[in-house]
């Protein structure tokens, strides 16, 4: 019986990107995590910025002035893009994790067809949906900037 501990070989965060077969769903998995962290960061900053209102109208106006530049408009659009993807992919995950769109167990006969293949149309569908939401939001942003 081996008692010594071996050399650590856990992939860490790199394992979110590599270590498997690099299928579409791995990228959706990783992007879902990254957009989730991005949205969380935005919410924290949002609370910090809007909390200036507690210190009076002048502090509120100064706070709003600091975040109204062009870079922040781009940042807001990125937040919107993250929302569009995260929400659309979240719907897919709710469906898949409740056992929908992944098919029933089958006898594995080579070449194997897995649940990943079964739900691929749904994955592509949510990408199209996220793209449509992003396009509509982008149009709105551009219209807002032009005024």
């Amino acid at each position: 019986m081996l008692d010594n501990k071996g050399h650590p070989n856990r992939l860490g965060v790199w394992g979110w990107l590599g270590g498997g077969t690099w299928g579409l769903e791995r990228y959706l998995y990783t992007l879902h995590r990254l957009t989730g962290l991005g949205l969380l960061l935005y919410f924290l900053l949002h609370i910090v910025v809007t909390s200036a209102r507690a210190f009076g109208p002048e502090a509120w106006a100064a706070s709003m002035g600091r975040v109204s530049g062009g870079v922040f408009v781009l940042g807001e659009f990125l937040v919107f893009a993250a929302f569009a993807f995260h929400a659309s992919n979240g719907v897919r995950l709710i469906l898949v994790e409740l056992g929908f769109a992944i098919g029933n167990p089958i006898e594995p006969i080579y070449p194997y067809r897995t649940s990943v293949h079964e739900q691929r149309p749904l994955a592509l569908g949510i990408l199209v949906l996220a793209g449509l939401v992003l396009a509509a939001g982008g149009y709105n942003f551009l219209a807002h900037l032009s005024h």
């Binding site: 077969t21 995950l93 994790e97 897995t114 649940s115």
Partner: protein, 273 residues
């Protein structure tokens, strides 16, 4: 791909006695027709580096011993043809997400511990019947289909190496143990869902899986652990909402007593032991 004349194996070597971190070693050997990665490793061990260590046994994709990280993918070395890789450079490393014992030998004990913790066996009240059966547990072909796919697992660890959640979370049980737990949860002969649920409802359970799907893509036997885990989540959610009713474990069907042997089927030979 046309067969190469020579193949270079880039092997991740690690000797625990040397106190040195793992390092790559290149070895070039002549290619022979039909050579698998496992065949290549055997040639290297016989002719170039006698200290090279790995696990293997059956050489036919059945035992699950030779899971390795080959050209960036978790695969069985015995099931992987050199020509299938499309290159004459074969990188071979131990399966990631497991500690390395030596060279290409991963420490699979955490996987088997997690497997055992999820009780991958029939749990029933009639213990006496299980140990001294008087008949067979009745099961329809449809009931068999609910778990047959998941029962093909050979515990090679390829799914655990491919899983991105396993890459950052040691507390997660992983695809293999969870899929095998589901295999018994949906077995009509089993009545242990309520017992396993106590473990599945913890951080060891399926809730950290967010369907990267890599385990199912990497599985060399088509077991589809991702499907098992999602179906398990549905079962647990429905159970939480009191919408799932655990069926009674199947009944014992007595052994037939009035069967007659067909004339063209000979008697079994006498036992030799």
């Amino acid at each position: 791909m046309t067969a190469p004349v020579n193949v270079t194996f880039r092997i991740r070597r690690y000797d625990p006695a040397s106190q040195q971190p793992p390092a790559w070693e290149d070895v070039t050997i002549p290619y022979t027709h039909g050579m698998t990665v496992l065949d290549g490793l055997r040639v290297i061990k016989e002719t170039r580096s006698a200290t090279l260590a790995w696990r293997s046994s059956c050489r036919m994709g059945v035992c699950g011993s030779c899971g390795m990280f080959i050209n960036g993918h978790p695969r069985l070395a015995c099931n992987t043809q050199i020509t299938e890789l499309g290159t004459s450079l074969v990188t071979v490393a131990p399966l990631p997400n497991f500690d390395i014992i030596r060279d290409l030998v991963p420490d699979l004990r955490p996987m088997f511990d997690a497997h055992a913790a999820l009780m991958p066996h029939l749990i029933r009240d009639d213990v006496q019947e299980m140990y001294e059966p008087t008949g067979e547990y009745f099961q329809t072909p449809h009931e068999l289909e609910q778990f047959l796919q998941f029962s093909y697992c050979i515990k090679c660890g390829c799914c655990m190496a491919a899983c991105p959640t396993m890459a950052t979370d040691p507390a997660y049980s992983g695809p293999m143990p969870l899929a095998q737990s589901h295999r018994y949860n949906v077995d009509s002969r089993d009545g242990g869902f309520g017992t396993r649920k106590q473990v599945l409802a913890t951080e060891k359970g399926p809730w950290k899986c967010h369907y990267a799907g890599e385990c199912s893509q990497a599985c060399p036997k088509g077991v589809d652990p991702a499907r098992a885990i999602q179906l398990m989540k549905r079962q647990l959610v429905f159970d939480y909402l009191r919408l799932y009713k655990q069926p009674c474990p199947s009944k014992v069907v007595p052994k037939p007593t009035e069967m007659k042997r067909r004339a063209d089927v000979p008697e079994a030979p006498a036992p030799t032991l």
